[in-house]
Protein backbone atom coordinates (compact mmCIF):
# COMPACT_ATOMS: atom_id res chain seq x y z
CA UNK A 1 0.00 0.00 0.00
CA UNK A 2 1.45 3.31 -0.99
CA UNK A 3 1.01 6.36 1.10
CA UNK A 4 -1.76 7.80 -1.02
CA UNK A 5 -5.19 9.07 -0.25
CA UNK A 6 -6.42 7.91 3.13
CA UNK A 7 -9.47 5.66 3.13
CA UNK A 8 -12.63 7.64 3.55
CA UNK A 9 -11.23 10.63 1.75
CA UNK A 10 -14.02 13.08 0.98
CA UNK A 11 -13.70 12.30 -2.71
CA UNK A 12 -17.15 13.03 -4.06
CA UNK A 13 -18.09 11.34 -7.31
CA UNK A 14 -21.19 11.18 -9.39
CA UNK A 15 -21.95 7.59 -10.17
CA UNK A 16 -23.41 8.60 -13.52
CA UNK A 17 -19.92 9.32 -14.70
CA UNK A 18 -19.00 5.65 -14.53
CA UNK A 19 -19.74 3.24 -17.33
CA UNK A 20 -20.39 0.34 -14.98
CA UNK A 21 -18.93 -1.48 -11.98
CA UNK A 22 -15.64 -2.32 -13.71
CA UNK A 23 -15.13 1.32 -14.59
CA UNK A 24 -15.76 2.34 -10.97
CA UNK A 25 -13.46 -0.39 -9.68
CA UNK A 26 -10.67 0.60 -12.05
CA UNK A 27 -11.02 4.22 -11.00
CA UNK A 28 -10.82 3.24 -7.33
CA UNK A 29 -7.67 1.21 -7.98
CA UNK A 30 -6.15 4.19 -9.74
CA UNK A 31 -7.21 6.70 -7.12
CA UNK A 32 -6.01 4.50 -4.28
CA UNK A 33 -2.80 3.91 -6.20
CA UNK A 34 -2.68 0.21 -5.55
CA UNK A 35 -1.14 -2.55 -7.64
CA UNK A 36 -3.76 -4.21 -9.82
CA UNK A 37 -1.95 -7.56 -9.43
CA UNK A 38 -2.13 -7.29 -5.64
CA UNK A 39 -5.40 -5.56 -4.88
CA UNK A 40 -6.07 -4.93 -1.16
CA UNK A 41 -9.51 -6.45 -1.50
CA UNK A 42 -10.84 -5.46 1.93
CA UNK A 43 -10.08 -1.79 1.40
CA UNK A 44 -11.25 -1.67 -2.20
CA UNK A 45 -14.49 -3.50 -1.34
CA UNK A 46 -15.17 -1.02 1.43
CA UNK A 47 -14.57 1.91 -0.93
CA UNK A 48 -16.73 0.31 -3.57
CA UNK A 49 -19.64 -0.12 -1.15
CA UNK A 50 -19.28 3.46 0.03
CA UNK A 51 -19.54 4.73 -3.55
CA UNK A 52 -22.60 2.74 -4.54
CA UNK A 53 -24.72 3.91 -1.61
CA UNK A 54 -25.99 6.79 -3.73
CA UNK A 55 -27.07 4.50 -6.56
CA UNK A 56 -30.39 4.70 -8.31
CA UNK A 57 -32.27 1.43 -8.11
CA UNK A 58 -32.35 0.88 -11.88
CA UNK A 59 -28.61 0.55 -12.29
CA UNK A 60 -28.00 -0.96 -8.87
CA UNK A 61 -28.05 -4.64 -9.83
CA UNK A 62 -24.83 -4.57 -11.83
CA UNK A 63 -22.99 -2.72 -9.08
CA UNK A 64 -24.45 -4.90 -6.33
CA UNK A 65 -23.36 -8.02 -8.17
CA UNK A 66 -19.82 -6.69 -8.24
CA UNK A 67 -20.03 -5.75 -4.54
CA UNK A 68 -21.07 -9.32 -3.72
CA UNK A 69 -18.20 -10.65 -5.81
CA UNK A 70 -15.72 -8.45 -3.95
CA UNK A 71 -17.01 -9.59 -0.57
CA UNK A 72 -16.74 -13.23 -1.61
CA UNK A 73 -13.15 -12.73 -2.73
CA UNK A 74 -12.46 -10.96 0.55
CA UNK A 75 -13.82 -13.97 2.47
CA UNK A 76 -11.77 -16.39 0.37
CA UNK A 77 -8.63 -14.40 1.08
CA UNK A 78 -9.23 -14.87 4.81
CA UNK A 79 -9.24 -18.66 4.57
CA UNK A 80 -6.10 -20.12 6.19
CA UNK A 81 -3.58 -21.60 3.79
CA UNK A 82 -0.20 -23.25 4.08
CA UNK A 83 2.86 -21.21 3.37
CA UNK A 84 4.10 -23.42 0.56
CA UNK A 85 0.83 -24.61 -0.91
CA UNK A 86 1.37 -24.69 -4.68
CA UNK A 87 -2.21 -25.56 -5.44
CA UNK A 88 -3.47 -22.32 -3.94
CA UNK A 89 -5.16 -20.14 -6.50
CA UNK A 90 -5.45 -16.46 -5.93
CA UNK A 91 -9.22 -15.79 -5.67
CA UNK A 92 -8.53 -12.39 -7.20
CA UNK A 93 -7.18 -13.86 -10.46
CA UNK A 94 -10.45 -13.82 -12.43
CA UNK A 95 -11.21 -10.27 -11.30
CA UNK A 96 -7.75 -9.11 -12.32
CA UNK A 97 -8.18 -10.71 -15.74
CA UNK A 98 -11.48 -8.91 -16.25
CA UNK A 99 -10.06 -5.61 -15.05
CA UNK A 100 -7.09 -5.84 -17.41
CA UNK A 101 -9.39 -6.70 -20.28
CA UNK A 102 -11.65 -3.80 -19.41
CA UNK A 103 -8.66 -1.51 -19.07
CA UNK A 104 -7.76 -2.38 -22.65
CA UNK A 105 -11.29 -1.61 -23.79
CA UNK A 106 -11.14 1.75 -22.08
CA UNK A 107 -7.84 2.55 -23.71
CA UNK A 108 -9.26 1.77 -27.14
CA UNK A 109 -12.47 3.68 -26.46
CA UNK A 110 -10.45 6.75 -25.40
CA UNK A 111 -8.59 6.52 -28.67
CA UNK A 112 -11.83 6.10 -30.65
CA UNK A 113 -13.21 9.13 -28.85
CA UNK A 114 -10.24 11.21 -29.98
CA UNK A 115 -10.53 9.96 -33.56
CA UNK A 116 -14.26 10.68 -33.66
CA UNK A 117 -13.72 14.15 -32.27
CA UNK A 118 -11.14 14.86 -34.95
CA UNK A 119 -13.41 13.60 -37.69
CA UNK A 120 -16.39 15.53 -36.30
CA UNK A 121 -14.49 18.75 -36.85
CA UNK A 122 -14.49 18.24 -40.62
CA UNK A 123 -17.42 18.22 -42.98
CA UNK A 124 -17.61 15.99 -46.00
CA UNK A 125 -19.29 17.00 -49.21
CA UNK A 126 -23.07 16.72 -49.01
CA UNK A 127 -23.03 15.19 -45.60
CA UNK A 128 -26.64 15.03 -44.53
CA UNK A 129 -27.21 14.96 -40.79
CA UNK A 130 -29.74 12.44 -39.54
CA UNK A 131 -31.38 15.07 -37.42
CA UNK A 132 -31.35 18.08 -39.72
CA UNK A 133 -31.81 21.26 -37.70
CA UNK A 134 -34.37 23.45 -39.41
CA UNK A 135 -33.62 27.12 -38.93
CA UNK A 136 -36.50 28.56 -36.87
CA UNK A 137 -38.94 30.61 -38.97
CA UNK A 138 -38.52 34.36 -38.58
CA UNK A 139 -41.19 36.46 -36.88
CA UNK A 140 -44.22 37.24 -39.06
CA UNK A 141 -44.12 40.82 -40.38
CA UNK A 142 -47.57 41.52 -41.78
CA UNK A 143 -50.25 44.22 -41.55
CA UNK A 144 -53.91 43.42 -40.89
CA UNK A 145 -54.79 44.51 -44.43
CA UNK A 146 -52.25 42.12 -45.93
CA UNK A 147 -53.53 39.28 -43.76
CA UNK A 148 -57.16 39.88 -44.80
CA UNK A 149 -56.12 40.12 -48.45
CA UNK A 150 -54.38 36.76 -48.08
CA UNK A 151 -57.46 35.23 -46.51
CA UNK A 152 -59.55 36.62 -49.34
CA UNK A 153 -57.20 35.07 -51.94
CA UNK A 154 -57.40 31.71 -50.24
CA UNK A 155 -61.19 31.83 -50.09
CA UNK A 156 -61.43 32.77 -53.73
CA UNK A 157 -59.21 29.92 -54.78
CA UNK A 158 -61.07 27.42 -52.63
CA UNK A 159 -63.81 25.75 -54.67
CA UNK A 160 -67.45 26.02 -53.80
CA UNK A 161 -68.24 23.07 -51.61
CA UNK A 162 -70.39 20.54 -53.38
CA UNK A 163 -73.39 19.74 -51.22
CA UNK A 164 -75.36 16.57 -51.73
CA UNK A 165 -78.96 16.42 -50.61
CA UNK A 166 -79.85 13.06 -49.21
CA UNK A 167 -83.60 12.65 -49.29
CA UNK A 168 -85.51 9.67 -48.03
CA UNK A 169 -87.27 7.86 -50.82
CA UNK A 170 -89.31 5.14 -49.25
CA UNK A 171 -90.12 2.08 -51.22
CA UNK A 172 -93.75 1.60 -52.10
CA UNK A 173 -94.16 -2.09 -51.36
CA UNK A 174 -97.87 -1.81 -50.61
CA UNK A 175 -98.54 -0.09 -53.90
CA UNK A 176 -96.63 -2.82 -55.74
CA UNK A 177 -98.60 -5.50 -53.92
CA UNK A 178 -101.85 -3.89 -55.03
CA UNK A 179 -100.61 -3.74 -58.63
CA UNK A 180 -99.55 -7.39 -58.64
CA UNK A 181 -102.81 -8.52 -57.05
CA UNK A 182 -104.76 -6.62 -59.66
CA UNK A 183 -102.69 -8.19 -62.40
CA UNK A 184 -103.17 -11.71 -61.03
CA UNK A 185 -106.92 -11.08 -60.85
CA UNK A 186 -106.86 -10.87 -64.60
CA UNK A 187 -104.33 -13.58 -65.49
CA UNK A 188 -103.18 -16.79 -63.84
CA UNK A 189 -99.63 -16.33 -65.10
CA UNK A 190 -97.46 -13.28 -65.43
CA UNK A 191 -93.81 -12.50 -66.11
CA UNK A 192 -91.38 -10.12 -64.39
CA UNK A 193 -91.65 -7.63 -67.21
CA UNK A 194 -95.42 -7.55 -66.89
CA UNK A 195 -94.98 -6.23 -63.36
CA UNK A 196 -92.19 -3.77 -64.14
CA UNK A 197 -92.34 -1.28 -66.95
CA UNK A 198 -89.10 -0.94 -68.93
CA UNK A 199 -88.34 2.57 -67.73
CA UNK A 200 -88.92 1.78 -64.05
CA UNK A 201 -86.71 3.49 -61.52
CA UNK A 202 -84.68 1.50 -59.13
CA UNK A 203 -87.03 2.15 -56.22
CA UNK A 204 -89.90 0.78 -58.28
CA UNK A 205 -87.92 -2.34 -59.18
CA UNK A 206 -87.04 -2.90 -55.52
CA UNK A 207 -90.62 -2.32 -54.43
CA UNK A 208 -91.89 -4.85 -56.98
CA UNK A 209 -89.31 -7.43 -55.97
CA UNK A 210 -90.12 -7.08 -52.26
CA UNK A 211 -93.83 -7.22 -53.05
CA UNK A 212 -93.40 -10.44 -55.03
CA UNK A 213 -91.38 -12.01 -52.23
CA UNK A 214 -93.94 -10.91 -49.66
CA UNK A 215 -96.83 -12.33 -51.69
CA UNK A 216 -94.95 -15.55 -52.24
CA UNK A 217 -94.37 -15.79 -48.50
CA UNK A 218 -98.07 -15.27 -47.88
CA UNK A 219 -98.81 -18.03 -50.39
CA UNK A 220 -100.71 -15.84 -52.87
CA UNK A 221 -98.40 -16.67 -55.73
CA UNK A 222 -95.49 -18.84 -56.73
CA UNK A 223 -92.24 -17.66 -58.25
CA UNK A 224 -90.16 -19.67 -60.65
CA UNK A 225 -86.98 -18.93 -62.50
CA UNK A 226 -85.79 -21.38 -65.16
CA UNK A 227 -82.16 -20.39 -64.93
CA UNK A 228 -80.11 -17.63 -63.31
CA UNK A 229 -81.00 -14.21 -64.71
CA UNK A 230 -83.92 -15.64 -66.63
CA UNK A 231 -87.21 -13.83 -66.38
CA UNK A 232 -89.33 -14.66 -63.32
CA UNK A 233 -92.53 -16.56 -63.97
CA UNK A 234 -95.29 -15.60 -61.56
CA UNK A 235 -98.13 -18.09 -61.05
CA UNK A 236 -101.32 -17.39 -59.13
CA UNK A 237 -101.87 -19.74 -56.19
CA UNK A 238 -105.47 -20.70 -55.98
CA UNK A 239 -105.19 -21.31 -52.24
CA UNK A 240 -104.10 -17.77 -51.54
CA UNK A 241 -106.91 -16.41 -53.58
CA UNK A 242 -109.27 -16.61 -50.70
CA UNK A 243 -107.15 -14.34 -48.50
Amino acid sequence: MTAGAAPGDPFVVELQQFNGPLDLLLTLIRDERVDIYDIPIARIAEQFLARIRTLGIDQASEYLEMAARLLRIKAQMLLPRHQDDDSWEDPRAELVRRLLEYQQVREVSDMLGRLAEERRSRFARAWLPNQAVEPPPGPLALSLGELLAAVDRVLRVAREPHIHDVVPRPLDVDGAIATIRALLQLRAHARWYDVIRPSAESWEVLSALLALLELARRGELRLRQASPFASLVITRESAGQAA
Binding site: N19, Y102, E107, L112, E118, S121, R122, R125, W127, A132
Partner: protein, 180 residues
Amino acid sequence: MNPLAKLLEAALFASSRPVPVDELAALDPEASPAAVVAALGEIRDTYNTNGHGVELVELGEGWQVLTRPEFTDAIERAQLAARPHRLSGAALETLAIIAYRQPIGRAQIEDIRGVNCGAILRSLQERSLVDVVGRGEGIGRPLLYGTTPLFLEQFALRHLEELPRADELSVTLRTEPRAI
Protein backbone atom coordinates in the same frame (compact mmCIF):
# COMPACT_ATOMS: atom_id res chain seq x y z
CA MET B 1 -2.87 19.71 -62.13
CA ASN B 2 -2.78 17.06 -64.86
CA PRO B 3 -6.05 16.04 -66.59
CA LEU B 4 -6.39 12.84 -64.55
CA ALA B 5 -6.06 14.75 -61.28
CA LYS B 6 -8.77 17.17 -62.43
CA LEU B 7 -11.07 14.28 -63.33
CA LEU B 8 -10.52 12.68 -59.92
CA GLU B 9 -11.08 15.99 -58.17
CA ALA B 10 -14.43 16.37 -59.93
CA ALA B 11 -15.44 12.81 -59.00
CA LEU B 12 -14.44 13.27 -55.36
CA PHE B 13 -16.33 16.55 -55.24
CA ALA B 14 -19.46 14.90 -56.62
CA SER B 15 -19.41 11.94 -54.24
CA SER B 16 -20.92 12.08 -50.78
CA ARG B 17 -18.86 9.13 -49.50
CA PRO B 18 -15.21 8.11 -49.60
CA VAL B 19 -14.34 6.72 -53.04
CA PRO B 20 -12.05 3.66 -53.21
CA VAL B 21 -9.07 3.76 -55.56
CA ASP B 22 -10.48 1.06 -57.85
CA GLU B 23 -13.66 3.08 -58.34
CA LEU B 24 -11.57 6.15 -59.14
CA ALA B 25 -9.50 4.12 -61.61
CA ALA B 26 -12.71 3.11 -63.40
CA LEU B 27 -13.25 6.76 -64.36
CA ASP B 28 -10.47 6.58 -66.92
CA PRO B 29 -9.87 3.18 -68.54
CA GLU B 30 -6.40 4.23 -69.59
CA ALA B 31 -5.25 5.23 -66.12
CA SER B 32 -3.32 2.66 -64.11
CA PRO B 33 -3.93 2.36 -60.35
CA ALA B 34 -0.44 3.75 -59.81
CA ALA B 35 -1.29 6.81 -61.93
CA VAL B 36 -4.50 7.27 -59.88
CA VAL B 37 -2.59 7.14 -56.61
CA ALA B 38 -0.06 9.63 -57.99
CA ALA B 39 -2.86 11.93 -59.11
CA LEU B 40 -4.49 11.71 -55.65
CA GLY B 41 -1.17 12.75 -54.17
CA GLU B 42 -1.06 15.68 -56.55
CA ILE B 43 -4.54 16.84 -55.50
CA ARG B 44 -3.66 16.50 -51.83
CA ASP B 45 -0.46 18.48 -52.26
CA THR B 46 -2.27 21.17 -54.24
CA TYR B 47 -4.84 21.54 -51.45
CA ASN B 48 -2.15 21.63 -48.80
CA THR B 49 0.26 24.06 -50.43
CA ASN B 50 -2.01 26.49 -52.26
CA GLY B 51 -4.06 27.49 -49.27
CA HIS B 52 -7.39 25.70 -49.72
CA GLY B 53 -10.32 25.48 -47.31
CA VAL B 54 -10.60 21.76 -47.95
CA GLU B 55 -8.21 18.85 -47.85
CA LEU B 56 -8.04 15.38 -49.35
CA VAL B 57 -8.10 12.62 -46.73
CA GLU B 58 -7.70 8.87 -47.02
CA LEU B 59 -10.29 7.17 -44.84
CA GLY B 60 -13.05 4.57 -44.87
CA GLU B 61 -11.24 2.47 -47.49
CA GLY B 62 -11.27 5.38 -49.92
CA TRP B 63 -10.56 9.05 -50.43
CA GLN B 64 -12.72 12.01 -49.47
CA VAL B 65 -12.59 15.79 -49.64
CA LEU B 66 -13.17 17.30 -46.18
CA THR B 67 -13.35 20.84 -44.90
CA ARG B 68 -10.53 22.00 -42.67
CA PRO B 69 -11.22 21.99 -38.92
CA GLU B 70 -10.66 25.72 -38.51
CA PHE B 71 -13.83 26.51 -40.47
CA THR B 72 -16.12 24.05 -38.70
CA ASP B 73 -17.52 26.46 -36.12
CA ALA B 74 -18.34 29.10 -38.69
CA ILE B 75 -20.04 26.58 -40.98
CA GLU B 76 -22.09 25.20 -38.12
CA ARG B 77 -23.07 28.66 -36.88
CA ALA B 78 -24.39 29.46 -40.33
CA GLN B 79 -26.37 26.19 -40.18
CA LEU B 80 -24.95 25.01 -43.49
CA ALA B 81 -24.02 21.67 -41.94
CA ALA B 82 -24.24 20.07 -38.51
CA ARG B 83 -21.80 17.83 -36.68
CA PRO B 84 -23.10 14.40 -35.71
CA HIS B 85 -23.86 13.99 -32.02
CA ARG B 86 -20.96 12.99 -29.84
CA LEU B 87 -21.00 9.34 -28.72
CA SER B 88 -21.21 8.61 -24.99
CA GLY B 89 -18.39 6.85 -23.15
CA ALA B 90 -20.53 3.74 -22.85
CA ALA B 91 -21.20 3.77 -26.60
CA LEU B 92 -17.49 4.17 -27.37
CA GLU B 93 -16.63 1.24 -25.08
CA THR B 94 -19.21 -0.96 -26.78
CA LEU B 95 -17.93 0.12 -30.18
CA ALA B 96 -14.33 -0.59 -29.13
CA ILE B 97 -15.24 -4.14 -28.08
CA ILE B 98 -17.11 -4.78 -31.33
CA ALA B 99 -14.31 -3.32 -33.45
CA TYR B 100 -11.76 -5.67 -31.90
CA ARG B 101 -13.80 -8.81 -31.31
CA GLN B 102 -16.18 -8.83 -34.27
CA PRO B 103 -18.25 -10.81 -34.94
CA ILE B 104 -19.37 -10.76 -31.32
CA GLY B 105 -22.66 -11.40 -29.51
CA ARG B 106 -24.37 -9.15 -27.01
CA ALA B 107 -23.72 -11.53 -24.08
CA GLN B 108 -19.96 -11.41 -24.63
CA ILE B 109 -19.98 -7.62 -24.87
CA GLU B 110 -21.92 -7.40 -21.61
CA ASP B 111 -19.52 -9.84 -20.00
CA ILE B 112 -16.56 -7.61 -20.83
CA ARG B 113 -18.26 -4.33 -19.89
CA GLY B 114 -20.05 -5.72 -16.82
CA VAL B 115 -23.27 -3.90 -17.71
CA ASN B 116 -26.33 -4.32 -19.89
CA CYS B 117 -25.71 -3.13 -23.47
CA GLY B 118 -29.07 -3.63 -25.21
CA ALA B 119 -30.04 0.03 -25.52
CA ILE B 120 -26.54 1.08 -26.58
CA LEU B 121 -26.38 -1.62 -29.25
CA ARG B 122 -29.70 -0.43 -30.61
CA SER B 123 -28.58 3.18 -30.82
CA LEU B 124 -25.27 2.22 -32.45
CA GLN B 125 -27.27 0.22 -34.96
CA GLU B 126 -29.59 3.17 -35.58
CA ARG B 127 -26.55 5.32 -36.30
CA SER B 128 -25.35 2.63 -38.73
CA LEU B 129 -22.03 2.26 -36.89
CA VAL B 130 -22.60 -1.43 -36.19
CA ASP B 131 -24.83 -4.02 -37.79
CA VAL B 132 -25.82 -7.63 -37.39
CA VAL B 133 -23.32 -9.66 -39.38
CA GLY B 134 -24.46 -13.17 -38.56
CA ARG B 135 -25.66 -15.60 -35.94
CA GLY B 136 -23.55 -17.47 -33.44
CA GLU B 137 -23.62 -21.08 -32.38
CA GLY B 138 -25.33 -22.14 -29.19
CA ILE B 139 -28.66 -21.56 -27.52
CA GLY B 140 -30.96 -19.24 -29.46
CA ARG B 141 -28.30 -18.64 -32.15
CA PRO B 142 -27.47 -15.17 -30.80
CA LEU B 143 -27.08 -12.22 -33.15
CA LEU B 144 -23.48 -11.29 -33.88
CA TYR B 145 -22.47 -7.68 -34.40
CA GLY B 146 -19.75 -6.08 -36.51
CA THR B 147 -18.73 -2.57 -37.53
CA THR B 148 -19.94 -0.93 -40.74
CA PRO B 149 -18.15 1.10 -43.45
CA LEU B 150 -19.66 4.20 -41.82
CA PHE B 151 -17.75 3.35 -38.63
CA LEU B 152 -14.45 3.67 -40.53
CA GLU B 153 -15.65 6.88 -42.14
CA GLN B 154 -16.78 8.54 -38.91
CA PHE B 155 -13.59 7.62 -37.07
CA ALA B 156 -11.38 8.58 -40.02
CA LEU B 157 -9.88 5.09 -40.19
CA ARG B 158 -8.63 3.75 -43.50
CA HIS B 159 -9.37 0.16 -42.52
CA LEU B 160 -9.82 -1.88 -39.35
CA GLU B 161 -6.15 -2.89 -39.31
CA GLU B 162 -5.32 0.72 -38.57
CA LEU B 163 -6.51 0.22 -34.99
CA PRO B 164 -3.56 -0.61 -32.71
CA ARG B 165 -3.06 -4.32 -32.18
CA ALA B 166 -4.04 -5.64 -28.77
CA ASP B 167 -0.40 -6.23 -27.85
CA GLU B 168 0.44 -2.63 -28.68
CA LEU B 169 -1.88 -1.36 -26.00
CA SER B 170 -0.45 -0.68 -22.58
CA VAL B 171 -2.07 -3.52 -20.72
CA THR B 172 -0.97 -2.83 -17.21
CA LEU B 173 -2.26 -0.05 -15.09
CA ARG B 174 0.02 2.77 -14.19
CA THR B 175 0.25 2.60 -10.43
CA GLU B 176 2.64 5.44 -9.84
CA PRO B 177 1.11 8.58 -8.35
CA ARG B 178 -0.14 10.93 -11.01
CA ALA B 179 1.56 14.26 -11.35
CA ILE B 180 -0.84 16.97 -10.36
